[in-house]
Amino acid sequence: MSQVQEPRKVLQHATIRFAGDSGDGMQLTGTQFTNTSAVMGNDISTFPDFPAEIRAPVGTVPGVSGFQVHFSSEEIHTPGDVPDILVAMNPAALKANLVDMPHGSLILINRNSFNKAQYGKAQYESDPLTDGSLDKYRLVEVPLTDLTERAVAETGLPKKAADRCKNLFALGVMYYLYDRPLEVTLNWLEEKFSSKPQIMKANQLALQAGYNYADTAEIFTDHYQVPKAKLAAGEYRSLTGNQAVAMGFVAASEVIGKPLFYGSYPITPASDVLHELAKLRHFGVMTFQAEDEIAAIGVAIGAAYGGALALTGTSGPGLCLKSEAIGLAVMTELPLVILNVQRAGPSTGMPTKTEQSDLLQAVWGRNGDSPLVVLAPATPSECFSYAFEAFRIAVKYMTPVILLTDGYLGNGTEPWMIPNPEDLPSIEVSHDHEVKDFQPYRRDPETLARPWAIPGQPGLEHRIGGLEKKDITGNINYDPDNHQRMTDLRLGKINGIAKDIPELEIYGNPDADLVILGWGGTYGALYSSVKRLNAAGFKVAGAHFRYLNPFPANTGDVLARFKKVLVAELNTGQLDILVRSRFARETTPFFKVQGKPFKINELMDFIEAQL
């Protein structure tokens, strides 16, 4: 029993990775640690990493689910390159994650799960706790299962149910180690299990017991404090990218004053957007679970034709299926937003792993010359603003817009400064068209948008469809000159949007000779690596694309300022192809396709080698 505690070591930031079986509740544990840290005032960034299987065989490496949380007293932009501590609930979790742990790092393991049967399932030939293979790590062995059972005994829960509280025990241990209060999680348990008081009590006891155990048993030589971050003043909450897009779409619907219609077919990792929106019927939101991906966009096109704010959402393979219908939306020039939460491909690929390999599919993946707008938010918070922006562009220019997020953004969290709804920009939509000589393809001279006349409006009856149409009247037309003109108009309309979007900004050192380009969800790692290199005395600039089609109007000028252009992306060179082909620039690429986000260190090494 320790009488006098050593003072807590103050850290700027720390990274924990929770890992266990898919059924061990690691996502929940990580989310609770994140929320508590956020409420304490840390900046946070998370990376959930889980298998596609709902419950792979217990104890096996494919069944391991992980959740990494990076929390800090300074501004952070990534979930952390390497964890400072790994919480491994079983041998499989240790095996799957050890490769990412630096020597000397802390590993907390559940002693009770390291028996022959368990480490055998994880394909260990001998007990890693005793065979010396972990000598280079600071191992903390805790009999989590036994201690949890004892802690919750008073609730009378059967053994199996009692064991399921061990993640809360582990969380309690981590709360002690990093000096976090228990209230956020205690309150959450109270709400979550309000109808199951026995389970609620057991989990609360386990959490408390974990905290007390770590306090009294002196299992750690040090314990830490990560003070509050200096975030901009305001009210915050933590938010995943998938939650953020859902709110951005609803915000657009409220601002425009049109009901949101979401057509979708369940697909990982986009299903959460459907779940979020399905809860919002009281906002007039209509979610439609379609029979397939094609139907999901079909109903959305029908809704757009009917004057609603139409949205469809999917992930990579679903975008393939929607291609023909996206072409119809291009041809009929209807406002439609298509969300693609990208995942690792090709084909079914790795559904729960992140990648950025659908960019060219988004820009070009349709028959014919079929231009549309492609946007990609850079952070979970930006998922909100770009969802909103997608609808602004769609309704102003009467065009489909593809919004590319990814599994990393969709499932990752960061603090989000809650906006005041009154500060949201207004978006004007008008169906007020002159009946006399109405023409469905007579364009606004400035935006080139055609009128959005909707069924039910008297005097504006007209026909549209996928066949080429005559300029202005919209009647079927196969004249060679007309097809040329209509193709040019469709392309010109999209290219013209470059005038209506922000310029490409340079971050880091604008006087550098070298610029590194990226797009979408890799921003955090790229920004951090450029910042650190400049802090270390190198001269490096970065530029990050959120608008992929059209590119910002100043893109050519930005590229011209630098002697060397690097491109980093989670694919085998898609932004790279666009930059090379549109601006005729030689580039030096850094591509990664491992189902994981960039690490800051690997980007720094790459950039440094090019200086």
């Binding site: 929320n35 956020a38 409420v39 304490m40 005032g41 956020v184 901009a232 003043a233 009210e235 915050y236 909450r237 709110m247 609803v250 219609f261 057509g263 919002l280 019927r281 009281h282 906002f283 007039g284 209509m286 439609f288 379609a290 029979e291 397939d292 094609i294 139907a295 966009i297 079909g298 109903v299 959305a300 096109i301 029908g302 809704a303 034709y305 009917g306 004057g307 609603a308 139409a310 219908a325 072409g327 119809l328 809650i418 906006p419 005041n420 709804p421 949201l424 909707i454 069924p455 039910g456 008297p458 005097g459 504006l460 009856e461 007209h462 026909r463 549209i464 469809g465 996928g466 079927i476």
Partner: protein, 335 residues
């Protein structure tokens, strides 16, 4: 605004030249629809025709209403989306045997299951016309076409049985050589609340001429077809009156004279169980007369009304959503 009360057939004819082959059954169907529209008492701007791809799917261009010529097989999805966000519209979906039962079979199944208040007209000519004469999912086995020179191998789908299996709430059949009958069926379809499925036998003069002549030609029609009239006995025959009777679970045709005191089946399309409608749908020529008219008509809530109900319930329970509440949900903290 168009005054629904004074509309005539002419008001529904668009300025576009109709480009079907001379003699195509589609002309008669178009004419029957244009004649039906003024009888519905619906303003022109509230009527929408939505089609897929194929000869029949050119239909919307010829109607002076709102219209959307979509992509192959997907018309049910676009029609459903439109009707969901705009329940007051009268939505008509035009499809064919290839569009509706081949490439769009999945969507046709699901529109019928969901039951939005949409009228689905399936033009069945048992051939692919627009692609110039390949066999279709309703072509008979052994059909010799350019894509099946030795005869097609697949069993045909019976559209009525398909619709019944998909839980369709209104199922009917009519044919292009009887404008009056088409008009009656279209009006019944329009009056039904829910998805109305109508199969229309339609002649393709070029690639599948006269496949239905053996029963629907004017000369033989009275003896080879049976009209399904609600509450009426199932009888037919020009000179010799015949009726449809039940022998156990099997329908049999007898002359009324043979039947004596035995009563023919009385048509009851509102039966909830589908076996009666299925029995009629099983009747194939020449063993049986071909039934035309409304096979089944049952009341079932429409998709758009159910969804609207959920929105209204949610608002009644939680109050109209406010962005401020949505943004500030869950654990928040101030800096």
């Amino acid at each position: 605004m168009s005054n629904a009360a004074t509309l005539t057939k002419k008001d529904f004819q668009s300025d576009q030249t109709v480009r079907w082959c001379p003699g195509c059954g589609d002309y008669a169907i178009l004419s029957a629809i244009q004649s039906t529209m003024p009888k519905l008492g619906i303003a022109k701007e509230n009527i929408v025709f939505i089609s897929g791809i194929g000869c029949s799917s050119r239909f919307p261009y010829y109607m002076e209403t709102y219209g959307f010529h979509t992509i192959h097989g997907r018309a049910p999805t676009i029609a459903t989306g439109l009707k969901t966000v705009n329940p007051d519209l009268s939505v008509w979906m035009i499809t064919g045997d290839g569009d509706g039962l081949s490439i769009g079979g999945n969507h046709l199944l699901h529109i019928l299951r969901r039951n939005p208040n949409i009228n689905v007209l399936l033009f069945n000519n048992q051939i692919y016309g627009l692609t110039k004469g390949q066999y279709s999912p309703t072509s008979e086995i052994g059909k010799k076409t350019k894509s099946s020179p030795m005869g097609s191998l697949e069993s045909p789908i019976n559209p009525i049985r398909f619709a019944l299996a998909a839980e369709a709430s209104f199922v009917a059949r009519t044919y292009d050589t009887n404008v009056k009958h088409m008009g009656e069926v279209f009006q019944a379809a329009a009056a039904h609340q829910g998805t109305s499925f109508v199969e229309i036998y339609q002649n393709c003069v070029i690639f599948n001429p006269d496949p239905f002549d053996s029963f629907y030609d004017r000369k033989v029609r009275s003896d080879e077809m049976i009209h399904l009239d609600e509450g009426e006995p199932l009888v037919f025959g020009k000179d010799v009156k015949k009726g449809l009777f039940l022998d156990g679970m099997v329908p049999v045709v007898k002359t009324l004279e043979e039947a004596g005191d035995e009563q023919p089946i009385v048509h009851q399309p509102e039966q909830k169980a589908r076996y009666y409608a299925n029995m009629l749908a099983e009747m194939e020529h020449p063993r049986y007369p071909i039934p035309v008219g409304v096979f089944r008509k049952v009341v079932r809530p429409s998709y758009e009304n159910l969804l609207k109900g959920q929105v209204e319930d949610a608002i009644a329970k939680k109050g109209r959503g406010k962005l401020k509440d949505l943004f500030g949900q869950g654990d928040t903290w101030k800096v």
